[in-house]
């Protein structure tokens, strides 16, 4: 009954989406406000029905109704409740339902909070949203219906893939989808602007918060996924340049560029055509990511060719939306009026440079991800493009970008003074040089590149701080005045500082982890001691434990530093009987921003266990950086100017230009 209700709600949502796709557009053509307002009610109703459908699937999973194929294949009655819920999107059908639910959520938000939008713009935006939604509802209903029943219900389910039975699954996919799908709003705005043939600074002001929101979620989603892979897969890697990861990195890079170009558009009414293109590209890359992950093309080109239903369907959606929007762009973009002028050395110029490098870096990731697929389809040759490729292309492109980051906020709009900006960055440069010198002296004979890279990161952080010092007049003015100025500073300026500093923080983590990571791999028996980076780790013993739906072998280690006992670490190996598979649960010991990491290998016949121990210096900074970036984004989002529904601010404080 619940399954049928969920299925029916989804069909109704499709019907609503079809109405929402057409009627508002018709209304805009006929200048009929009543027809245009249909978009609002249908978007909200759609959210209600998809929400209901999603709730139905969650209920089925929670109650372990194994008469539903999706529940049977991915759940088990003994599974803890949290994994019963997260298991809803731990499979293809459920995750597509989550995808459309989030799409409907964003459509509903625009409908609910878009009261200050011009009526026809809102009608167009919601109609475009409904086009996307209709395509994906059809996809789910035709190829991936999660509500199908089994004729003879089994009494027990097949359980969820053990690797997914982790709290990471509760957070990572929803976050990532909020990011991916959030970019559909800027896409819809872009297509709506092209349809209307009108775009202005106000447009950018409406688009920016949505882009920012999506970007925050995508940033956190990627970081979360990386940390999850780090602790769950058991060999301490945090980024693999795997196509699935690249699929999420590409929209992030394009989205970051979009975020910055939208600033130029809002402030200076320039780069309109480019911003529109970026909006289209960002969401296209999100769709591409969905295609790569969902079509099975990565698992096997053959799986795609032999079971083409899903893959071809998504490919079709991909072609229609990307091809359609780009054609529309080619046709209508020239109709958009050119914006303000600016010199190459200016805030706008710096943001153009940022866009140039981000999109180029995105393009290299695109090539590295899709070239092997294309080559295999065309010539049949199989190659793998791994980390070395991306290190050789992506990294060199990021270096000039990082050098430029601190300059951007210090340049004036329209015509900037590079020398002046450089002078204001002298302090940051000196700090960076001192950092390089100290590190170089400390690690004498070691890597030369690492101190330089850390110096660059310090430059970015110090540069962000000196921007803050510059704006508040700290050290120049009395402390009270500086504090008052700091309070008066727009939140978006604070956001810039945090986000840019976050980039530097993440870079420090990445460099330290990759350069000074130490590891020990060997077999140990009880009372053996392993020495890693000054820490002594004693294997105390091994015991067995029965979990809810698995058995686990727990090894207990005592970690000590200079003879002082620190803590007990208990890595384990779990074997899941239903699926007959094992997972490795690593044990982590956090010391400041560094971590000790133990994971277990096989047990030999004589009782020795293979053990892998890492010391990862500063590794937590890798994820702390993105968290800072997201925090910066949130600060910027809470800026009065961008708050949804906020009135236009008075034009009083012109001299305190926010930097974004």
């Amino acid at each position: 009954m619940i399954a049928e209700a969920g299925h029916y709600a989804l069909v109704l949502a499709l019907a609503l989406a079809l109405i929402q796709s057409t009627v508002p557009i018709l209304g805009a053509r006929l200048h009929d406000p009543a027809l245009m307002n249909v978009a609002r009610s249908t978007a909200l109703a759609q959210l209600l029905f998809v929400g209901g459908s999603f709730a139905a699937l969650v209920t089925l999973h929670v109650t372990s109704d194994f008469s539903v194929v999706n529940v049977f294949e991915n759940s088990h009655s003994l599974k803890p409740l949290i994994y019963k819920i997260t298991g809803v999107w731990g499979n293809h059908e459920g995750s597509m339902l989550l995808w459309v639910s989030i799409l409907a959520l964003f459509g509903g938000l625009v409908a609910a909070f878009g009261n200050n939008l011009p009526l026809s713009l809102r009608a167009h935006v919601l109609a475009v949203q409904a086009w996307i939604a209709s395509a994906f509802y059809l996809f789910i209903l035709i190829t991936s219906n999660p509500f199908l029943r089994i004729a003879n219900p089994p009494i027990e389910g097949r359980d969820l893939n053990p690797v997914l039975q982790d709290i990471g699954l509760a957070v990572h996919p929803p976050m990532l989808y909020l990011g991916y799908v959030g970019f559909s709003i800027s896409f819809s705005f872009a297509v709506a602007a092209l349809l209307e043939g009108r775009i202005d600074a106000a447009w950018a002001r409406w688009v920016r918060p949505w882009t920012l929101l999506a970007w925050i979620f995508l940033t956190l989603g990627i970081a979360m996924g990386s940390y999850w892979a780090y602790y769950e897969l058991g060999w301490g890697g945090w980024w693999f340049w795997d196509p699935v990861e690249n699929a999420s990195l590409m929209p992030w890079l394009a989205g970051t560029a979009l975020l910055h170009s939208a600033v130029v558009m809002e402030k200076r009414n320039a780069l309109k055509v480019w911003t529109i293109l970026l909006s289209i590209l960002t969401f296209s890359l999100s769709l591409l990511g969905t295609f790569l992950v969902r079509s099975g093309v990565l698992t096997s080109v053959h799986a795609f060719a032999t079971d083409p239903e899903r893959g071809v369907f998504i490919l079709l959606i991909l072609c229609i939306f990307i091809g359609g929007s780009l054609s529309l762009y080619a046709w209508r973009a020239s109709a958009l009026k050119q914006g303000g002028l600016f010199a190459p050395i200016s805030r706008e110029g710096a943001l153009v440079l940022n866009n140039l490098f981000l999109t180029t870096a995105c393009a290299t990731v695109f090539i590295g991800t899709l070239y092997p697929l294309a080559l295999e389809v065309i010539t049949g040759d199989k190659i793998s493009v791994g980390a070395p490729f991306f290190n050789l292309t992506f990294a060199p492109l990021f270096v000039p970008l990082m050098i430029a980051v601190p300059f951007g906020p210090l340049l004036a709009w329209k015509r900037g003074d590079l020398l002046g900006a450089a002078q204001r960055l002298v302090a940051a440069g000196v700090v960076a040089l001192i950092a390089i010198a100290l590190l170089w002296a400390w690690t004498l004979g070691g890597s030369t590149l690492a101190p330089l890279a850390i110096g660059l990161a310090v430059f970015v952080i110090a540069g962000a701080l000196s921007d803050l010092v510059e704006r508040t007049g700290l050290f120049r003015l009395p402390l009270g005045t500086a504090l008052r100025r700091a309070r008066g500073l727009p939140r978006s300026s604070w956001g810039t500082v945090f986000a840019h500093a976050g980039v530097g923080v993440a870079l420090i983590g990445i460099v330290c982890e990759t350069t000074w990571n130490t590891e020990y791999i060997g077999s140990m028996k009880p009372h053996d001691v392993a020495h890693v980076a000054g820490y002594a780790l004693t294997l105390d013993g091994v015991r067995q434990r029965q979990g809810p739906n698995f058995r686990e072998m727990i090894a207990q280690f005592t970690a000590s530093l200079d003879g002082e006992r620190l803590s007990v670490m208990t890595p384990s190996k779990r074997s899941f009987t239903t699926r007959g598979s094992t997972t490795t649960e690593a044990a982590l010991l956090t010391r400041g921003a560094s971590q000790l990491y133990i994971s277990l290998g096989d047990t030999a016949a004589d009782g020795e266990i293979a053990v892998r121990i890492y010391h990862k210096p500063m590794v937590l900074l890798i994820w702390f950086g993105p968290v800072l970036m997201a925090f910066g984004g949130m600060l910027s989002l809470s800026d009065r100017r961008l708050r949804v529904g906020a009135p236009k601010p008075a034009r009083a404080s012109r001299q305190l230009q926010p930097a974004e």
Binding site: E73, L176, G237, E245, L341, A363, G368, T393, L397, R612
Partner: protein, 170 residues
């Protein structure tokens, strides 16, 4: 500067960055791309010792030998030929005799494949894509793999679930 000059500066700058990027990509393509081979292909192509490639196939039943200090040797076959592989380190959770495996490394002078990385996807039903394709091509494909690999595909979660678990060298 006039509008035209400004635009030329921008276009020139963009082209310069794109040219640099293209050069980087081509350079990386030449140096860092690893080809995939099966034991039969290795025998046919006479890959020189020291050239890195990825070897894929099935781990021959009964060929896995644990040596001292985490050294292991096993044979990889694809129905036509077998190739001895040596590896030092921890094998991935899903490494099993009779199952598919992908190893990265190079041949040494004596014709043994010295792997520095052994990959296995983390799902036990999963057949590495390259191996499945190669086996299909050579007609050694069993239908039950097909069913399994599709099940594995369904398991793929939104993101990141299907990352390769790796055996890391010592």
């Amino acid at each position: 500067m006039t509008r035209k000059q400004r635009r030329l500066t921008m276009i020139g700058g963009s082209l310069a960055v794109l040219a640099v990027a293209a050069a980087l990509v081509l350079n990386a393509m030449r140096d860092s791309i690893v080809f995939f081979s099966t034991p039969v292909m290795v025998a046919e192509k006479h890959i020189p010792a020291g050239r890195r490639f990825r070897l894929g196939g099935l781990v021959e039943k009964g060929s896995l030998v644990h040596g001292a200090d985490l050294a292991v040797t096993f044979k990889v076959g694809d129905g036509g030929a077998t190739l001895p592989v040596s590896f030092k380190g921890i094998l991935p959770d899903l490494f099993r005799e009779g199952q598919g495996v992908v190893a990265e490394g190079a041949l040494d002078a004596s014709g043994v494949f010295r792997a520095d990385t052994v990959l296995a996807k983390h799902d036990e039903t999963y057949m590495p894509k390259d191996v499945a394709d190669a086996l299909k091509k050579q007609g050694h494909w069993k239908d039950d793999y097909g069913g399994k690999s599709q099940a594995a595909q369904a398991d793929q979660n939104a993101q990141g679930a299907s990352r390769a678990a790796q055996g890391v060298p010592q």
